[in-house]
Symmetry: C2
């Protein structure tokens, strides 16, 4: 049990009555975590774990000195390690997905399907099929995975299942989140899923806080059961991807995965585990999550240092194996577009992997407009003691413009499908 309730109340009271608390504590003075001892050890457990993070060397880090042969061997090892971390259950005799309904749209139809990837679970997805695409004339297929706070209906441009599920944007601003319709207009079959805990897969948020979803509750219970949010989401998404492979209207030699924000994580997992995927839309900035944890240490006025993200991103042991740039590097030589850049240091690593794999032209990178037209920051190593805003600034990220970059993705698509 907790014995801190009364202190929480006391704290609130102190803050509320305006006592001069914060004035004696200067967050900026404590940004960097330093040992005060000659031997470098920490009394503070936060200091200890910070040092442990800094000493951590991911086992399957990409090495830009790889020969093509070493690269392939490493790729296979990374795949095995990813499979071990994701813990996808091996279930047989699962029921086949069922078609629930079909609606006509201008130039395409939208089918709603449901699938049964786990004994306890039913999950639904939308399939947008262009007119003219048939078994005799199959099309490339693209699996679209939404970002945080998004429903599959938002990405598909379909009516929301609950008034609260929408983005809250209207008109041209709302169009910014629609991904599947531009793809279907390019004659692809677009499939859109919900992330676990969001949209139709949410709990009570439709009555209350949606589109602010409690992903963390789902994540916490999964972690208790030795799984993880990403292990679960990538398993569900893989189940749908495998269904796509069996659809005669979809060319299974032209399967693409498009992940936005939160959706880039299952994209990476599927990309590593499934060599059949043809190309990837990685719609977020690329970063080193281990470094982000190490440098994001400026406390708030209560002395709390931020954690970069919530436990829906926690995969125990992930960082002992690899980091995001390693994973994207391992997708080479399959085409990938990164429309929201990051640090050139990390992007160059991915570029190097594509060069080693013999297809340097298969990695396409754009930066946020704010960082495209001027000298971007580049760092071999970011300084410690950052806050969130400064971290984004230094890594060339423009948070208000974090959205779907169809303007660069669609021309890229024309190229990779030529």
């Amino acid at each position: 049990m907790k014995r801190t309730g009364k202190y929480g109340l006391l704290l609130l009271l102190l803050l509320a009555t305006g006592l001069a608390w914060g004035q004696t504590f200067n967050p900026k003075a404590h940004g960097v975590i330093r040992s005060e001892r000659a031997d470098g050890r920490f009394y503070s457990s936060r200091g200890v774990v910070h040092a442990m993070l800094k000493n951590n060397v991911p086992k399957y880090a990409f090495n830009p000195g790889f020969t093509p042969g070493e690269f392939k061997k490493w790729q296979q090892e990374l795949r095995t390690a990813m499979g071990r971390l994701m813990k996808h259950p091996q279930l047989s005799n699962l029921p086949a997905p069922q078609l629930l309904s079909t609606v006509r749209r201008d130039g395409y139809r939208v089918e709603k399907w449901e699938a049964y990837p786990l004994p306890e679970c039913v999950t639904s997805f939308l399939v947008l099929i262009p007119d003219g695409v048939t078994e005799a004339n199959p099309a490339p297929g693209i699996l679209c995975i939404p970002g945080s706070g998004e429903s599959k209906e938002t990405q598909a441009g379909e009516p929301e299942l609950s008034p609260k599920f929408g983005s809250g944007d209207t008109g041209a601003e709302a169009e910014r989140w629609v991904v599947a319709v531009p793809y279907v207009k390019k004659d692809l079959v677009a499939v859109v899923v919900d992330n676990p805990g969001a949209g139709e897969a949410s709990d009570l948020e439709r009555y209350t806080t949606a589109p602010d979803y409690n992903y963390e509750a789902v994540a916490r219970y999964l972690l208790e059961l030795d799984w993880s949010y990403l292990g679960y989401s990538s398993y569900i998404d893989m189940h749908v991807l495998n269904w796509m492979k069996r659809q005669p209207v979809i060319r299974n030699d032209r399967l693409i995965v498009c992940g936005f924000s939160l959706g880039t994580e299952p994209l990476m997992v599927m990309g590593v585990l499934d060599p059949d995927i043809y190309a990837f839309v990685y719609n977020d900035f690329l970063c080193r999550t281990l470094e982000r944890m190490i440098v994001l240490t400026e406390p708030d006025e209560n002395g709390r240092r931020p954690f970069p993200n919530s436990i829906r991103h926690l995969i125990p042991g992930f960082l002992k194996n690899f980091d995001f740039p390693d994973i994207v590097a391992s997708l080479a030589p399959r085409p990938v577009i990164c429309p929201e850049g990051g640090l050139d240091r990390d992007l160059d690593l991915v570029r190097k992997a594509y060069a080693i794999a013999g297809k340097p032209e298969n990695i396409t990178i754009y930066h946020y407009a704010k960082f495209a037209d001027r000298a971007r920051g580049n760092y071999e190593r970011l300084p410690e003691g950052l806050n969130r805003d400064l971290y984004f600034e230094l890594t060339n990220v423009d948070p208000p413009r974090h959205d779907v970059k169809m303007n660069v993705v669609l021309p890229w698509l024309d190229e990779v499908l030529k």
Copy 2:
């Protein structure tokens, strides 16, 4: 990245301006998680994980039908599984702990030591030694592990290292938290540690929120590194316990561990891993944490169902192996006192283990005063849809009286050390 910031703000605004939000959502109506489908499957991911929790059967659950031989075999298997989960590093050539200072008190002395259990870590502990205890006249040793929000100095009755580290109580109320002094007055050598992230092991809380500590930050980074708060705390505590074994003033055939609240968790781990420990003071109520997660589902006015505790209690995969009553049962036949009761259902399970192990007299149980003198609730299975208050009521817990029960522990101690 998150796209929910603006919605959070919107929510705050709505709440602040008093719009009639909550009135349309009735939390009580959504307490129990139910599938709306004939096949029992859930669209809601929260529903899916809830069903997965209900289907979870811990591998090393205690079976009251064990023969004495089966019990011993199971005990050994549980020990192996616990070792696997706790991931204690096997380090050699660690520096020996150092004595930092000694102060005289009435009838005993207090030594402050520091130890070096990890290359990045220094941890300090207090040793209270009664006058008259010498190498020629060694005494039993008791390791005291504080609860949440407590420093080792609080439990030792010593001056706090920072004004904010104290309990905030004064006089007789402050005495409630002092554990080590009553033990030393009974002629035991009492050793007191800090929990990771608390007291001297805290980060910036001494300037701000202490004794409200950010244990969760420490826990999160450890989880990222494939460890856990409990794995870490039990490792540190075990390091100190092993030091105790080498002290000539301590009888290492009479080592006792006393855990209060949060401190009962490392107590359980050490008890399982180390058969040399002689007896245990388990100062919290005993409960089934898996069941607690299953039944604690009544949402708040925002539709958020509670999670029983924070991620400092998260050990990935723990629940697939065992639950608290199984672990306490596995301590048989070594003496244990549970001064804050719980459900008779769970306590009877532990009693049964002690009977199988041939020492039914070695389990001592008291209930909260509120539940001692009247018919207590007892349930084979708790109903779902509870809130926290109701959960405590049904499990015979009186939260305001959750404290150190020296009144029953000290007479028990006389018995077990007779």
